[in-house]
């Protein structure tokens, strides 16, 4: 068994379900990997640990950082896109007259640093939002609840649930992917040298994760949930169920290309389209060679499609 580690982007939650599932089921083990999952957090900077070999796979955000890596000459590459859609949403109060995307321009928005540096730049360039309407988001929705005329960012699977539960209302949800932000949501990145020298390891991880996701979403995910709760003792079943439901409802993990090409699918067209938008928004330099940011060598082979059929019975 080869030991590898995988750094996620937050403390353990349903959004990491596929990987936990693959660990719990022994899917990785079956192809020769012993995977250790290292949870992250909002301030934790796991990225830099990838190129130096402290971790072997990283749960990346959207494609933007992959472009940055190319720009800065960092030898990492995206090998799979497990979220077909960016799950970022903007939320507003339902009965305050902020019911349209356009109306968001008139109110203050709570946006975190990550968002500010990525999709919000695109919103500025594409729709004419302004940096001055941004207020700090500290990953706590209380200020939003306290002020009807605030909007805030969120993860489709998390904040809406908390707001619904604590605030007692369903917020308006604007999935930015629906407005043209067509990046893949979360990716798996790895070191270029790993791809070159041990492609079987990468293959095992990517395909194992795809199967893990299928099992997690459509099969019996009890074991994975147990693992998540062990890594994050405060996690509630209710929250987990909500997240899974939302991921399914919005097709975050499994929609579009992935339905036929398998979970994790990527296409050159989508990456090019997103890259062009980001260049237009001035977030990325046009000189970047997009094709270096990712490789399609490990995805699009339809892994797990059969399994899904078996599980869902159609």
């Amino acid at each position: 068994l080869e030991k590898v580690s995988f750094g996620t982007n937050w403390v353990a939650q349903a959004e990491h379900g596929g990987y936990y599932q693959a660990v719990a089921d022994g899917t990785y083990e079956a192809c020769g990997l012993e995977v250790e999952i290292k949870p992250g957090g909002p301030q934790a900077n796991n990225r830099i640990l990838l190129p130096v070999g402290k971790i072997d796979f990283l749960m990346g955000g959207n494609m933007l950082q992959a472009f940055s890596a190319v720009e800065q000459g960092i030898p990492t590459t995206v090998v799979a896109a497990h979220f077909q859609k960016e799950p970022q949403v903007l939320l507003t109060h339902p009965d305050a007259g902020h019911d349209t995307w356009e109306s968001l321009k008139d109110i203050n928005l709570l946006i975190g640093k990550g968002g500010l540096n990525s999709y919000y730049q695109w919103m500025i360039a594409e729709f004419g939002f302004s940096a001055d309407q941004v207020r700090p988001y500290t990953y706590n929705s209380a200020p939003f609840l306290a002020d009807k005329d605030l909007g805030q960012q969120g993860y489709i699977t998390s904040e809406p649930f908390a707001i619904e539960k604590e605030g007692g209302f369903k917020p308006n949800i604007f999935l930015i992917a629906d407005y043209g932000y067509d990046s893949y949501g979360t990716t798996v990145e790895t070191r270029t040298d790993l791809i070159e020298n041990k492609p079987e390891v990468v293959k095992c991880f990517v395909e194992g994760s795809a199967i893990g996701w299928v099992n997690f979403l459509y099969g019996d995910n009890a074991a994975a949930l147990e693992l998540i709760k062990k890594d994050n003792p405060g996690m509630s079943d209710e929250q987990l169920a909500f997240s899974i439901e939302k991921m399914k409802e919005y097709g975050i993990v499994d929609s579009g290309d992935s339905l036929t090409m398998g979970i994790g699918a990527m296409t050159d067209e989508r990456n090019k389209s997103f890259f062009d938008k980001m260049v237009a928004a001035g977030v990325v330099s046009a000189d970047v060679d997009v094709s270096k940011a990712y490789t399609l060598a490990f995805v699009n082979a339809g892994v797990g499609v059969d399994l899904k059929k078996k599980l869902t019975g159609n």
């Binding site: 403390v11 353990a12 999952i37 290292k38 949870p39 992250g40 957090g41 909002p42 301030q43 934790a44 900077n45 796991n46 990225r47 830099i48 640990l49 130096v52 402290k54 500290t138 990953y139 706590n140 929705s141 209380a142 609840l145 306290a146 998390s158 649930f161 908390a162 707001i163 539960k165 604590e166 605030g167 062990k230 890594d231 994050n232 003792p233 405060g234 996690m235 509630s236 929250q239």
Partner: protein, 293 residues
């Protein structure tokens, strides 16, 4: 006849043989006892009052529980989530105490080094300052690249946050030793080490302990901040993760429960440091002496 010393009024002419049973003595002893108890009761009472106030403010202003939960809610969360919180507390405590220990001894050792030669101090104090002001969020990744154990990494982060007050205060203290005493030591041909051991360290004690009092709280903050930036997992995760998660999930009562545990820890550390100060200083230093009047 006007009487200057207060107690004299109440006391009749007496022979003085009965000193131990003297009403004056008794009233003094009573005052001392009240004071001794007051030192504990008063802050507790004030804390209780402020908790009640907190509750009333929540009620009067109709503050929703997801902004500022009422104390009772926090208490319930504390009880209900105790199994989770207690483990987190333990983990945080481990890092805090570790950081405090290395901050104390590291700060002390550096201070001693710095006072051995003015030139060393001039040359290397800037590095201490740089270390103090460098945001650990920026260098945490660097640390974790070269340090394998998460725990060690957390300790280093927390140490960076906490060491400076000890270093700075102790340096000041070591430099504040009475010059006449220094002359005396010089006269008797004391070695550098003897001067340090018998003169400068004792003289620096009040300052050093003052530094510790600051560093105690900072170690706790350091442990929490380190956890924020290092994002540790599962069984090793501490109160920072609880706060983060609870706040993200809007489980504010639990977040406040975690905050209260942090505050409590801070106060316990502070009391401990005060106790240490008392132990080391009450025999001789102005700040801890109980003068007899």
């Amino acid at each position: 006849m006007t009487v200057l010393t207060e107690h004299a009024v109440a006391v009749p002419e007496h022979s003085g043989q009965a000193v131990p049973l003297d009403p004056l003595e008794v009233s003094k002893a009573r005052a001392a006892k009240i004071e001794r108890q007051g030192r504990w009761i008063l802050p507790v009472v004030i804390l209780l009052i402020s908790i009640v106030l907190w509750d009333r403010i929540c009620v009067w202003n109709e503050i929703p529980h997801y902004i500022l939960p009422r104390p009772i809610l926090v208490y319930e969360a504390l009880i209900a989530d105790w199994p989770i919180l207690s483990i987190a507390l333990l983990n945080t405590l481990k890092i805090t105490l570790g950081a405090m220990l290395i901050a104390t001894f590291g700060g002390l050792a550096l201070a001693v080094l710095f006072t051995q030669s003015k030139w060393i101090e001039i040359s290397f104090f800037p590095f201490a300052v740089i270390l103090q002001v460098t945001p650990i969020i920026a260098i945490a990744p660097l640390i974790f690249i070269y340090v394998d154990s998460v725990e060690a990494g957390l300790l280093i982060c927390a140490w960076i946050v906490a060491f400076f007050p000890v270093l700075s205060n102790t340096t000041l203290g070591l430099n504040s030793a009475d010059h006449n005493l220094r002359n005396l030591f010089q006269m008797y041909g004391a070695t550098r080490w003897q001067t340090l051991r018998y003169l400068r360290l004792p003289a620096a004690m009040p300052y050093f302990l003052g530094g510790l009092r600051i560093a105690g709280g900072l170690s706790l903050i350091g442990a929490i901040v380190a956890e924020f930036v290092a994002g540790s997992a599962g069984s090793g995760s501490g109160l920072a993760n609880q706060i983060l998660e609870s706040s993200y999930r809007l489980n504010i009562p639990r977040m406040f429960a975690a905050l209260i545990l942090i505050s409590g820890t801070g106060i316990v550390i502070f009391l401990l440091m005060n106790f240490l100060s008392h132990v080391f200083l009450h025999k001789w230093h102005e700040s801890a002496l109980k003068r007899e009047n």
